[in-house]
Each structure stands twice: as structure tokens, then as C-alpha cells.
Amino acid sequence: MNPRNMGEIPDADGIGEVGNPTCGDIMKISLKIEDERITDVKFQTLGCGAAIASSSMVTELVKGKTLEEAWKVSNKNVADALEGLPPVKMHCSLLAEEGVHKAINDYRIKHDLPPWEEKK
């Protein structure tokens, strides 16, 4: 377990925190954004191995992407990049997707832009 992009961006442009301590997983994604492009991204996670791996992987996948591109990174992309997750662990990759979405919308709201809608 050697996660990359672990930590917090002190002056982040967008922050997304998902999950809750009761269910055992908390994930926090912070983004540095320049010209609608993610120039830096870091995560903090309290959770199982799959949750940590998923958060690390999603930061790798969105780094350098435009916000529109990053929004399209799905939990399936995360799971595939990890070479598959067991069914009981799929929710970890979903959490990673949601964390990025929440961080992007945090940025948009701060900039008075309407938040993008989560697909069901």
C-alpha cells in the first residue's frame, strides 16, 4: 500500500468530503484548479485498503484533466484502473467518484457557477 497524492492542499480551490465515520469510510479530495484544469489533487482517507487505493487512483486519473473531463471519470474507471474490485468493495470506488464530483462542485459554487448534476 503505497498511495500517491496523499495529504491536503492548504489553499485548495475545491474540497469534497464524502462518507461518514459510522459506515467506516471517510474520503476527502482537495483540488488545485487553474483555467478549469486540475493542476494538483490530494486525498485523505479513513477506510479499508480498497478505499485508500480507490482514492489514490482517482487522484491519478483526474490530475491534469479539465474539470469536464474529470467529471466523467467514473467509479468503473477507478475499479478498472485497479484491475478490478471485489463486489463488496465496489462502493469504495463510488466514494472516490463522488469525492471528485463534490470537490468540483465546491469549486463551481465558490465561483457562482451552478453545480453539475450527479447522474443517478
Binding site: 500500500m1 498511495p3 496523499m6 495529504g7 491536503e8 468530503e17 465515520p21 459510522t22 459506515c23 467506516g24 469510510d25 471517510i26 474520503m27 476527502k28 485523505q44 482517507t45 479513513l46 477506510g47 479499508c48 485498503g49 478505499a51 485508500i52 463488496v88 462502493h91
Partner: protein, 398 residues
Amino acid sequence: MNTDKMVYMDHAATTPARTEVIEAMVPYLKERYGNPSSLYAIASEAKQAMENARAEVAHVINSSAGEIYFTSGGTESDNWAIIGSAYANRKKGTHLITSGIEHHAVTHTFHYLHDKGFKLTYIPVDNEGIIKLDAIEDAITPETTLVSVMAANNEIGTIQPVKEIGAICREKEIIFHTDAVQAVTHIPLDVEDMNVDLLSLSAHKFYGPKGIGALYIRKKTRIDSFHHGGGQETRKRAGTENVAGIVGMGKAITISHEKMPLEIPKEIKLRDYLIREIKQNISHTRLNGHPQKRLPGNVNMSIDFIEGESLVLLLDHKGIAASTGSACSSGTLEPSHVLLAIGLPHETAHGSVRFTLGEETTMDDIRYVVEVLPGLVERLRIMSPVYSDFCKRSEKNV
């Protein structure tokens, strides 16, 4: 694993079979392969070996051999004890009593009976995981037919007042079942002294093979069969017997029982050292369960701001096998019902780690765990948003 070191600290999940056990088993797979139900010589060898094993098991819990029935493991024994006695005594009543910290083999069996119309009462435990005796007395009604309380808990290791529960049940003429899967050969047990009517055990918890266990059924206890079919086990448990497994179980229980008087103090010493060192070297940790009334080999700690499963993975990378919650439930996402029952909040219950010591465990192994663990916890805490929030808050407060 990026290390060759292997420190097995999960003896409550399972134990390696002893060499003597494997050697005793192989002939009953090979040349002594007869079906014990058959009439000819090669079959009576198998039958005889099985009866020896039965006597060996009986000796350890102070029952007679005729009261021991072999099963496919602790789970079947628990299912049989509970379903078999509940149905056999249904005319008397349909109320059953158990505790809130039983193994899933017990709790899920009670759920099943609940679906079938039986009424259940769960007796609570205190914060150290000891069952409340007076609550049992209060729960008993004329409808009650069974009390099932485990002898020792698999997660937090607490040893229950089995003898006192047995006395209550005997007085009220209620069948008393105890799941002694974690207890047999790890603490002394005596079905006579403890007034136990049904007792479950499983060989793979005392250096025997997996997939073989037994149910002790006190003579005259009303209980239905669970596996129906041939006339094996004096017509109480059908199915061609796992002869090799039974022979292995007999061997394993005898050796473990002989070693027990030396093993108990050894494990207690190592256990208490490990608990002390973890508490001293890692902040925000607590022992789960009772400090003294616990299995000699059980260490269960809550470690704040981390999640247990990721710690188990990091430990595995260092060659240490440990667990979080019980092995059986670790495929699930819910926190352990045992840790919730002793009053832990959800987030704390998620951050537990269990080390269970065994015969091979040495002081060196313990020192290795003590050396490695703080760094791993630190790594996870650095990753944890909850921990960094906590640290920020603490700084502000200074």
C-alpha cells in the same frame, strides 16, 4: 508480502494442525479407508479409531463418550443444538434466550428461528463484555426452553460465568447450550460442574483439522436430529463420518489439553505484555473486553482514527497475520456486533485490531509486533482526514 517473516497472530480464526495430528489422520485416508458402518474388518478399524477419538473428546470436558456426537464443525454444532432443541421442546414453549455477543453461527440461527415464529430475548453484556446474570433470571418465563450463552467470546475474548448460568438453568429446568468453540483446551471446562446440557466445539481452534467438530448432548436432553439419513452416530447425526478428521480431532484435543496447564500462563504473560506495550506506544488506544476474565491468547484493541481492515493489510505486508472483528464477519461492511454491544460507537468499532496468540507464539514475535505496529498506525493516521481534523482542533486548544 514483501517480507519473509511470518508471525501468525490469528489463532482465534484458525490454528495450524499439529504434525502428530496429520500423521494420525493419513492412515485413515489411505489404507484404513473402510466405511465405519460396514461389517467387515477394515471398517471396524475405522469404527474403533472413531470411538477412541470420542472418548478423548469426552475426557476433556468430563462427559461420557456416548454423549459426544461428531459434526462438520462449530457452526453445525451450534445450528444443531439450537434448532434441534427448539423444535424438540416446542410443545413446552417457544421462547429462547441468548446473549448479544454470540458468534454468527448462533445469532443467525436464532434469526432463522425467529422467522419461524420463535420468540427471542437477547441478554445484554456490560462494557467489559460480561453477560448480566440477573438479566437472564429476569428473562426466563414458563415458555422458555433454551438458554444459549458462549463460554468465551471469539472477538474480545471475555470468559462468561458459564457455571452460574448453568445453575440458573438447572434450577428452572431449561436446556443450557454453550458455544465453547473458543474455550475448549484454552480454559478448563467441565460439563458436570458447569451444568451444561449442550456444548459446541470445533477442532480447527485447537490445532486440529478444519471441517470437523462435535456437539456434547447430555443424556436425556430432548433434541431433534439436524442431519437426517443413515444410522450413524447412534442415529442422531446422519452422514458417512469424516473418519480422518475425527481421528485428528481426538489427537489434537488430547495434546492441547495436556499442554494447557503450561500454555495458559505462557500466553497470559505474552498477552499482557503486548497489551501494555501497545497502550504505551500508541496514543488513543484502548483494550476491548475484560482485563482479567479473558482468553489467555486474546488481545483486542481499539485504535482511534484508523480503520481496522487497512491496518490488517499493512500488518500482512510486514508478515503479521491479525484480524479485525471476527474472521467470519470480516467479509462484511458492518462493524462487529460484539464491539457495538460493549458500547463502542460505530467509528471506534471500525478501528479495532485483534491479535490472538498461540502455542508457537514467542516473545520475539510479540516484540516484532510492538516494533512494527506504531509506524503502521502512524501511516494510516496521517492519511486520515479525521485525524488531521483532530490534530488541528488540539493545536487550537493549546
